[in-house]
C-alpha cells in the first residue's frame, strides 16, 4: 500500500484520539488567528494609507511646475478614476488698503476627492463642501485676521474681485508642514481666466485621482513608467510627511507583534499535543519496529498522518480567517468610512504557511524522536524514553519562533530582543515554578490533607508542572501584553505629544531680522523659541556621479533625489539626534562635512567618507559624510535629514526657520506680527497636531479590534494547553477513586494544583509583561519613562490565576467522575 494511503487510513483510525483533534484544532486556530490578524492588519494598513489619502485629497496624484499633459487625465479615465485639477501659487490679496501674501489653491469643483473640506459660514455654521464656484473664495482664519476681513466681504485676489463665501477650517493639505501659510481657496476657472497659471507663473499644478484600489494601482504603474514632465513628481499616500510615516510604522509594528504572539501561543498548544500524541504512540511504534518496519517508513507514516491532518486544517483555518476578517471589517469599517479597500488574500495564505511551519517546528521533535523508538521498547517502555542525540531537535521550535518573530518584526534587532525577552520570561517562569514547587514539597507534610494531596500531586508531576507553568506564563504574558500593556502604550503614545510642543513656525526669516523678531516674540509671551538656518537645494551628485546617472533602483530614493531638500546646520548635535557612526563635525574642518540621517544612509547606500554634492541657489557645495545620525522623527522637533558643518554652510544663501510655543488664542497679535514682517510665513502647527492626534486615535481604535481577536485566540489556545494533561489525570483519578479517594478530595487537590499553577503563571506573567512592556515602550515605541500600569497587571494576573484554576477545575470535573471500574477494564 502506498504511504499516503496508509497515512490516510491511519488518520481515519486515529481521528478519535483527543491529541490529534487538539493538534488539528490548534492548527486551525493558529492559522485563523494569524490569518485574521494578518488580514485585518494589512487591511487596516491599507485603510490607514487610504486615510492618508484624505490628507492629500486623493488616492494618488502628480504635482508639476507646468500644466500636465492631457494623457495623465485620459489614463485616469481609462482606469475608472475620478480626477481633480488644482494649482497652488503665492499671490497677494488686497482689501481695505491692506495687503497680505497668501498661499492660494485654485481647484476645480471636484476638489477634494478624498478627505473633507470643512467650512464655516458667516453665521458660524460649519459645513462640508467643495472648492468654490467662480467669483467666490474661501480664506482661512489667519488670512481673515491678517486682512481684517469677515466672511461675506469682498477682496481682490490676482486682480479679480472675489467674495469671501466661507472661512476655510480644514482642507486636505497634504500634511506638508512647510507648505502651509495663510491660505485661500479659489476656483480654478477664476485663476485661469486671471492668467495666474500661465507660463512664467510660480504655480505648482496638481492632478489628484481617486477610485477603486485596482484602478489606482493600474494608473500608478502607468505613471511610473511614463515620462513625467520636467520637475514633476508623483504624490502618493506613502510619501506623506515623515512624522505621519513614523506613526504608521509604529501602528504596523504593533499589529505584527499582536499576530506574532498569537502564533507563538498556538505553537505552545501544538507542542503539548504532539508530545502527548508521541507518548501514546510509543508502544505502537515499538511494535511496528519490532514487526520489521524501517525507521524511515515509520517517520514517513507519521509525517504523512500529520500532513493529512494539517492540510485540511490549514485550509479550514484560511477560510475561517478570511470570513472572520471580512466580518470584522464590515463591523469596523465605520472607522475608515468611505475608504474602499479589497479583502487581501495573501496574508491569509501566508498565515496558513506560517501555521504549517509552526506545526512542523513544534510537532516534529517529539515525532522524530518517536521514529527512533527501538524495537526492544516493546518490552520495556523506559527504553523509549530518551534518545540523547535528539535533544538538539528541541532547538527547532526555538528556531521557528525566532524566524517567525523575525518575519513579523521585520528587524533582526527587534527579533533578537523579543526572542530574548520571551526566553527570559520562560526561564523566569521555569525558575519561579521550580522554586514554588520545591516550597510545596517542604510545606506538604504539615498541610491540610486535601492541600497536601494537591501539593504532592503538583510536586510529583514536576516535569509536566514546569512545562505547564511555563507555557501558561508565556500565554499569559501575551494576553497581558495585549490586554494591559498595549492600551497603555497607545495611551502613552498619544500623551507623548506634549502640551507645550512648539505650535508655531515662522518661515523665511532673513538674517538681519532675527534680533527684532526675537524681541517681538518675547513681548507676546512666546516660549521655547528655536531658530535654525535653512538652505534649500537639490542633491546633485554622489561620489562625483550625477544623480540622474545613478540608476537608483529604489523608488523612494529616486523620489527623494528628485525633490527639493532642506539643509541646515548647528554647532552641536541637536536633541533627539544620536550619532551612530562617525563623529560630529569639528570647529573648522578643511573640507565641508555632512551628517546624514540613517534613512538616507539606507536609501542611497551611503557610508562614511562618501561625498555629496548639493546645488543651493547658484552655487554648489561638496561635503564629505563624516557622521550618521539616528533621528527620532516622532519627537515633534524640527529635524533634518541633512546637516552640514556651520563653517562652510553659513556661506550658502539661507533663511531662518523659527519655532516657538504660543498658547492658543493669540492669533490677532500674530497677525500684527505677520503684517510687520510681510516676507514671513507663519504656520499654525496646532491644527496639524490635531490631525496627527486624530489619526493616532483612529489607528488606536483599529488596533483594539485586532487585539480582541488575538485575546480570543490566546484564551482558546490556553484552554487547549490545559487539556493536554487530561488523559493522564483521568487515569490517575480512576486509580485514586479505586483506592478510595473522595470526589471532594480529588476536586480540592485539583483546585490547589491549578490555583498554584495559575498563581505561578500569573505572577511570572505579570513580571514578564511589565518588563517586556517597559522595554517595548522605551526601546521600540520610544516613549520616555514608560511604565505600564502595575495594578491592572497584578489584578489581571490574579484574575488569570483564578481563570486557570476554574478552567482546570472545569476540566477535571468530568475526570473526577471517572467511574473507578474503568481501571479494572483498562487492562
Amino acid at each position: 500500500m502506498r504511504l499516503w494511503q496508509l497515512a490516510l487510513r491511519n488518520l481515519r483510525r486515529e481521528w478519535h484520539l483527543p491529541e490529534l483533534r487538539t493538534l488539528g484544532a490548534s492548527l486551525v486556530l493558529a492559522v485563523t488567528a494569524l490569518g485574521v490578524v494578518a488580514t485585518l492588519s494589512t487591511r487596516i494598513e491599507h485603510g490607514v494609507l487610504a486615510s492618508a489619502a484624505e490628507l492629500i485629497g486623493g488616492d494618488v496624484g502628480v504635482a508639476s511646475p507646468q500644466n500636465l499633459p492631457a494623457e495623465f487625465t485620459e489614463q485616469a479615465t481609462t482606469h475608472g478614476l475620478s480626477a481633480s485639477r488644482s494649482a497652488g501659487f503665492p499671490s497677494v490679496a488686497f482689501a481695505h488698503g491692506q495687503s497680505q501674501l497668501l498661499d492660494v489653491l485654485a481647484a476645480d469643483s471636484a476638489y477634494p476627492l478624498r478627505g473633507t473640506l470643512e467650512l464655516l459660514d458667516a453665521q458660524g455654521h460649519s459645513r462640508i463642501g467643495h472648492a468654490p464656484p467662480p467669483g467666490q473664495v474661501y480664506l482661512d482664519h489667519r488670512a481673515l485676521v491678517a486682512l481684517n476681513l469677515k466672511v461675506g466681504q469682498p477682496l481682490q485676489l490676482g486682480g479679480r474681485p472675489l467674495t469671501i463665501a466661507a472661512e476655510l477650517v480644514r482642507e486636505p493639505d497634504g500634511g506638508e508642514l512647510f507648505a502651509l501659510a495663510p491660505r485661500a481657496l479659489m476656483s480654478l476657472t477664476d485663476a485661469e481666466q486671471a492668467g495666474l497659471l500661465g507660463v512664467g507663473s510660480r504655480a505648482r499644478h496638481r492632478l489628484l485621482l481617486a477610485g477603486e484600489p485596482a484602478g489606482v494601482r493600474g494608473w500608478r504603474t502607468w505613471a511610473q513608467g511614463a515620462k513625467l514632465p520636467q520637475g514633476a513628481e508623483l504624490i502618493t499616500p506613502e510619501q506623506t510627511q515623515e512624522r505621519m510615516r513614523a506613526a504608521f510604522d509604529r501602528a504596523g509594528a504593533f499589529l505584527r507583534l499582536t499576530a506574532l504572539l498569537s502564533a507563538l501561543l498556538s505553537g505552545v498548544a501544538i507542542a503539548l499535543a504532539a508530545r502527548r500524541y508521541a507518548r501514546r504512540k510509543t508502544q505502537e511504534v515499538a511494535l511496528l519496529r519490532a514487526l520489521g518496519t524501517s525507521r524511515r517508513r515509520v517517520l514517513g507514516l507519521l509525517a504523512g498522518t500529520l500532513a493529512a491532518l494539517a492540510l485540511p486544517a490549514a485550509a479550514l483555518g484560511t477560510v475561517l480567517a478570511l470570513a472572520l476578517a471580512q466580518a470584522a471589517w464590515v463591523l469596523a469599517s465605520s472607522l475608515f468610512a468611505g475608504v474602499p479597500t479589497e479583502l487581501p488574500l495573501a496574508p491569509a495564505f501566508a498565515a496558513a504557511a506560517m501555521g504549517l511551519a509552526v506545526l512542523a517546528g513544534f510537532a516534529l521533535p517529539p515525532l522524530a524522536m518517536l521514529a527512533e523508538v527501538p524495537p526492544v521498547a516493546v518490552f520495556r517502555a523506559s527504553l523509549a524514553r530518551r534518545v540523547r542525540r535528539f535533544d538538539l531537535l528541541y532547538l527547532l521550535p526555538a528556531l521557528v519562533a525566532v524566524l517567525l518573530i523575525w518575519s513579523q518584526s521585520g528587524s533582526a534587532r527587534m527579533a533578537v530582543m523579543l526572542a530574548a525577552c520571551l526566553t527570559l520570561v520562560a526561564a523566569a517562569a521555569a525558575t519561579l515554578s521550580a522554586l514554588l514547587l520545591w516550597l510545596a514539597r517542604r510545606v506538604a507534610p504539615g498541610a491540610h490533607p486535601a492541600l497536601r494531596l494537591g501539593l504532592a500531586a503538583l510536586a510529583r508531576r514536576r516535569g509536566m508542572s514546569l512545562v505547564q507553568a511555563t507555557a501558561l506564563s508565556l500565554g499569559l504574558v501575551a494576553l497581558l501584553l495585549l490586554a494591559v500593556v498595549a492600551p497603555a502604550l497607545l495611551e502613552g503614545w498619544r500623551r507623548e505629544l506634549p502640551a507645550d510642543t512648539p505650535n508655531w513656525f515662522a518661515l523665511n526669516l532673513q538674517t538681519d531680522q532675527r534680533a527684532d523678531f526675537e524681541q517681538a516674540l518675547a513681548r507676546l509671551g512666546a516660549g521655547k523659541l528655536n531658530m535654525l538656518p535653512l538652505a534649500v537645494g537639490k542633491l546633485a551628485a554622489i561620489n562625483g556621479t550625477p544623480v540622474d546617472q545613478l540608476h537608483l533602483q529604489d523608488q523612494r530614493a529616486q523620489e527623494t533625489a528628485d525633490r527639493q531638500l532642506r539643509l541646515s546646520w548647528a554647532d552641536a548635535l541637536p536633541e533627539s539626534n544620536q550619532i551612530v557612526a562617525g563623529r560630529w563635525p569639528g570647529e573648522h574642518p578643511a573640507q565641508a562635512e555632512a551628517s546624514i540621517d540613517t534613512s538616507w544612509r539606507d536609501l542611497f547606500h551611503l557610508k562614511l567618507g562618501d561625498t555629496l554634492r548639493f546645488e543651493v541657489g547658484e552655487g554648489t557645495l561638496d561635503a564629505k559624510v563624516t557622521s550618521i545620525r539616528r533621528v527620532d522623527w516622532s519627537s515633534f522637533r524640527v529635524n533634518f535629514f541633512l546637516l552640514v558643518d556651520p563653517a562652510h554652510a553659513s556661506e550658502l544663501p539661507h533663511t531662518w526657520l523659527t519655532s516657538f510655543y504660543l498658547p492658543r488664542g493669540h492669533a490677532e497679535q500674530l497677525a500684527q506680527l505677520s503684517r510687520d514682517y510681510p516676507n514671513l510665513s507663519l504656520i499654525d502647527v496646532d491644527a496639524l497636531l490635531d490631525r496627527v492626534r486624530e489619526i493616532v486615535d483612529r489607528i488606536g481604535n483599529a488596533v483594539r479590534w485586532v487585539l480582541g481577536f488575538s485575546l480570543l485566540a490566546g484564551a482558546l489556545v490556553l484552554a487547549a494547553a490545559l487539556a493536554a494533561s487530561a488523559q493522564e489525570r483521568r487515569h490517575e483519578a480512576a486509580l485514586l477513586r479505586t483506592l478510595g479517594a473522595r470526589r471532594g478530595q480529588l476536586a480540592a487537590a485539583a483546585a490547589c494544583e491549578f490555583a498554584l499553577l495559575g498563581l505561578v503563571a500569573g505572577l511570572t506573567a505579570a513580571v514578564g509583561a511589565a518588563g517586556t512592556g517597559i522595554w517595548l515602550g522605551r526601546a521600540v515605541f520610544r516613549i520616555e519613562g514608560f511604565v505600564p500600569p502595575l495594578w491592572p497587571l497584578v489584578l489581571a494576573a490574579g484574575g488569570a490565576a483564578l481563570a486557570v484554576m476554574l478552567l482546570g477545575l472545569a476540566g477535571t470535573r468530568r475526570i473526577v467522575r471517572t467511574p473507578p471500574m474503568r481501571l479494572l477494564r483498562e487492562g
Binding site: R380, A381, S382, R385, P445, P449, R452, L453, A456, R460, R461, G463, M464, E728, H731, E732, L735, L736, R737, T738, L739, G740, A741, R742, R743, G744, Q745, P819, P820, M821, L823, L824, R825, E826, G827
Partner: protein
C-alpha cells in the same frame, strides 16, 4: 482497625467480611440486554483466602468490581464489612474502600510519573497520614524493594512493579485485599514470588484475600475457590 460488627439478618455467616446475595449484573449493549452475572451468592470470612476462577469472559472481573464497590449490581446485594453497598452512594463506597480495601491489578496500574515510594504513599496520603513516607519505605522494604524507592515504574521489571503494587495495596493495613489476575502478566517464578507475598500477608496480618485467577495452582493455594461459568457460580470448593 476495629473489629467487624455485622448486623446481618440472621444468616449463618455472622462473621462474613463479604456477603454476596443473589447478585446479577446486566448491561444493555448494541445487541440488546446482556446478562453478565446472574444469581451469584457467596460469603468470604475475615482472614480467609478466596479464589474466583473461570474461563475468560465468564464475568470474574465484573464480579470483583461489584465486590469492591467499584460498580453497582443490577440486582441482589453486596455487604462489605457489614455495610450494604447498594445503599451507599459512590462517595460512601469510596470511603469504605479507603478504609477496608486494597487492590492489586493484572497490569499493576502504577502512576508512571511517581516513584515507587510515591506510588506506595498514595493510600496513606488519601487518609491524611503524617508518616506516609516512613511507612511507604517500610512496606517497600518488606516486599524486597528497599533499594528501589526512587525508581520510576518504567525502570522496574514487571515483577518488581507488581511488588510495588502489592506494597501499595497493604501499606495502609486494609482488612481485605482484592487481586485481579495478579500474576497474569508475570512468568511462573516471578508469579510465584508475588503470590507468596500475597499469602504471607494473609497469613501474618490476617488480611482477607480475594483473588481472581486463571492459574489453577494459585487458586489451589487458597482456602476456598468458586468457579464462574457464563456468569453463574458453578461450585464452591472447600
Amino acid at each position: 482497625m476495629s473489629g467487624s460488627s455485622p448486623d446481618s439478618d440472621g444468616t449463618q455467616h455472622e462473621d462474613a467480611l463479604l456477603d454476596v446475595r443473589d447478585v446479577s449484573k446486566s448491561v444493555s449493549g448494541p445487541e440488546g440486554r446482556l446478562d453478565i452475572l446472574s444469581g451469584v451468592s457467596l460469603q468470604v470470612r475475615a482472614g480467609e483466602s478466596f479464589a474466583i476462577v473461570g474461563a475468560s469472559g465468564s464475568g470474574k472481573t465484573t464480579l470483583l468490581g461489584l465486590l469492591a464497590g467499584l460498580d453497582t449490581p443490577s440486582g441482589g446485594s453486596v455487604r462489605l464489612g457489614g455495610h450494604a453497598l447498594e445503599s451507599l452512594d459512590e462517595e460512601a463506597r469510596a470511603d469504605l474502600r479507603r478504609r477496608l480495601v486494597g487492590f492489586v491489578f493484572q497490569s499493576f496500574h502504577l502512576l508512571p510519573a511517581l516513584t515507587a515510594e510515591e506510588n506506595v504513599m498514595l493510600p496513606l496520603e488519601l487518609e491524611g497520614s503524617n508518616d506516609a513516607r516512613t511507612r511507604a519505605r517500610a512496606a517497600l522494604a518488606s516486599v524486597g524493594l528497599g533499594a528501589r524507592q526512587r525508581h520510576y515504574p518504567a525502570q522496574l521489571s514487571g515483577g518488581e512493579q507488581q511488588r510495588v503494587a502489592i506494597a501499595r495495596a497493604f501499606v495502609h493495613g486494609p482488612r481485605l485485599l482484592f487481586a485481579d489476575e495478579p500474576t497474569g502478566n508475570l512468568d511462573q517464578r516471578t508469579g510465584h514470588h508475588v503470590s507468596d507475598l500475597l499469602f504471607a500477608l494473609n497469613r501474618d496480618h490476617h488480611t482477607t484475600l480475594v483473588l481472581v485467577t486463571h492459574d489453577s495452582r494459585l487458586a489451589e493455594r487458597c482456602h476456598r475457590r468458586v468457579e464462574l461459568q457464563e456468569g453463574r457460580l458453578l461450585a464452591s470448593v472447600a
